[in-house]
Symmetry: C2
Subunit: 379 residues, 2 copies
DNA sequence: GCACTAAGTTCAAGCATTGAACGAATGAGG
DNA sequence: CCTCATTCGTTCAATGCTTGAACTTAGTGC
């Protein structure tokens, strides 16, 4: 690190600050200077190459009252975009996301992946990506999978065993000739609540159930992944040490009481929609199934809160759908079991993102990287 | 942040790097340059004020073979020191620690604090601190308490209820006319394994039992405290959701099965020493009590590992003493319940620090702050 | 038209590190 | 004892990014 390097680091850091401010909302140089704490001079200097490279665009002057009108800067409508893709047990999804945080297009197709080979899956994903890709520079692809990812490899995926160990990121990268980054769906769903917009602060846990139960843990504005990608495995938190056997080899895992498959079975339903309708109609069996699951989930979340002590829990995926009937039991268990809960400062909220949370997070992974490492934008 | 400020930050960062290298071991300017990646010129420049202010001292030249002999730099033997102090249920302890990481003096006195007023406790602590303070500049005092600390206040301490809410840091600071920093004993015991020497890597959990069970969680070389200081409350992780009632209001908390009081009661012993002897003698009741506790602790730790995914667990406090008889059960539960455990990459080790771990961490809190914020050394 | 206001640009100044050149201190070899 | 090789430590001009003040630009209000 020479001093020159240090100075370059300062510049890149400031560039990041400016881009972050712009993700928040457009603004003139003077406005951005005020918001970032930098000077107008620095802003002219920093934004010049961004404008020259088609990252930003200068709007027509706005007539804002007295003084010389300001020309707002915002992300160029033909500027670079990121693609998110999701491989899941029963569907595939893709989404394109601009640096400004706006979704450009998105698409979700039902698909039974369970018995498909990695190559077939990747072919289909590549095709979907090509279909929604606009005529704009591409930053890369974020790829979400329902399983544990470590060092870019899918190391554990109880519901998609055929994909474990396959070169998913590499395979898709080759097909599309793009950078591909692989990550766990739980982490990416959590990221979607953090970037490009803060929906639940900088410290929270996002919990969702599809086939398994996964928690995406966000600490200090960063997704916490653990030493080997196994962090946040809420599904295998033990709530009854001599309880029901779990496929993982343990006993009494939360997943065995609050997993979606368990809820559906207890409620005597085949699909989430059907369950939702039954709940709306007040079906006692459905209500009890959800309440029981809520209690188990609440115990698991209480344990999680006693270890992580984060101020908010976001219920996503199927849990967001069931939120209304689930929350009471969850909250009640947490209230009586979370130490820090006395002041009731644990917010329990439903995710507003719906079924696109994961792909959005996958795309966000890429736009976020571009903003945090602005040098990538000039490549 | 002006550029001048930025450059000052660079300087402070380099100063920190150099000090960190010196905590590791002494070295000449040339050696330090090689180890830090900075140039000899920069090292001359950075160390000059440290020498002038009596932080460092230049040893006599060492005859190391060919070439001009180097003059090693190390922390000045009369340089600033930190004091650690511990208030616990049955003892008080103090320790003085130099910037080089060497203990100067330490002292532990039995004391029943349970019914003592905050003022009386602080008077005694202040007296102990004065007794061991050497004739050297003082950086401050780290104060350890068995309870949850948030924003410098003891918010929860089931075993020392009289101290809750009292102005402990302020009270001691006034008595000694020094900076006092308050923290939880579990966090500080963990810190002692991280600073001034790495004893268990940069990611680990330190678990200890005195009256309650506390885990100090270290992530990326930093103690993780959570949003309100309640992180790492392993004692209140639930292992049987309909289990034994806990004083915290929950049921089936680890503490109710693996707390030291429970172990002693089950073993029919009054004190840890007596239990240790019984174990050595092969007393079946004692062995069973410890094994049972180990199983419960193992279940709780498995849950913790599935959430934090750290590569090492350190058993400290009473658990370190019982380690030999406790580990088998703990390890066995973890092996069958930790997802990432397949490759057995979770190390379970006993703390080498003994009963001084907490005070050492308390003192380390202060020396660490001094090194990480070198500007404090010139005040 | 003229004063006023605010946006954006230009430019010399300031500073920590660098790398090369230099001075200092010793061992090896004759 | 003297010279050469070797390594340590210091000196100094050069580098490059932000700054703040001065300046230019482009509007409004009267």
């Amino acid at each position: 690190m020479t001093t020159v390097d240090h100075l370059r680091q300062v510049r890149l850091g400031n560039l990041r600050t400016v881009l972050l401010a712009l993700v928040d909302r457009p603004g003139s140089r003077a406005d951005l200077a005020a918001r970032t704490g930098l000077t107008k001079a620095t802003l002219s200097n920093l934004t010049e190459p961004l404008l020259a490279n088609g990252i930003l665009i200068e709007d027509a002057a706005t007539l804002a009252g007295m003084g010389r009108p300001s020309k707002p800067l915002r992300f160029h409508p033909d500027g670079p975009v990121a693609v998110g893709a999701e491989i899941n047990v029963s569907h595939l999804a893709v989404e394109t996301l601009g640096l400004d945080g706006e979704t450009i297009r998105r698409h979700l197709v039902p698909a039974d992946i369970r018995d498909t080979t990695p190559d077939e899956v990747l072919d289909r994903v590549a095709e979907l990506v090509r279909e929604i890709t606009p005529e704009r520079p591409l930053l890369g692809v974020g790829l979400a999978v329902p399983g544990v990812v470590h060092d870019g490899v899918l190391v554990r995926a109880p519901n998609l065993p055929k994909l474990v160990g396959a070169s998913l990121a590499g395979g898709l990268a080759r097909r599309l000739d793009l950078d591909v980054e692989l990550d766990n769906e739980a982490n990416l769903a959590a990221l979607a609540h953090l970037w490009p917009r803060h929906l639940a602060g900088e410290d929270f846990v996002h919990v969702s159930a599809d086939v398994g139960i996964g928690a995406g843990v966000v600490l200090g504005g960063e997704v916490y992944r653990g030493a080997s990608g196994f962090a946040g495995e809420l599904g295998h938190v033990v709530i009854e040490r001599n309880g029901v056997r779990c496929t993982c080899g343990s006993r009494g895992c939360v997943e065995r009481y609050a997993g979606l498959d368990v809820i559906l079975e207890q409620a005597g339903r085949r699909h989430l929609d059907s369950l939702a309708k039954a709940l709306k109609a007040g079906d006692p069996k459905a209500l009890k199934a959800v309440r029981d699951a809520g209690e188990a989930l609440g115990v698991g979340l209480a344990t999680l809160m006693n270890l992580f002590d984060v101020p908010a829990v976001v219920l996503g995926g199927s849990y967001a759908v069931l939120h209304e009937h689930l929350s009471v039991a969850v909250q009640s268990e947490m209230d009586s079991r979370v130490l820090a809960g006395g002041e009731r400062h644990t917010r329990l909220v439903a995710s507003p993102l719906g079924e696109f949370a994961v792909v959005r997070g996958a795309a966000g992974l890429i736009t976020r990287r571009a903003v945090q490492q602005p040098e990538r934008l000039f490549a």
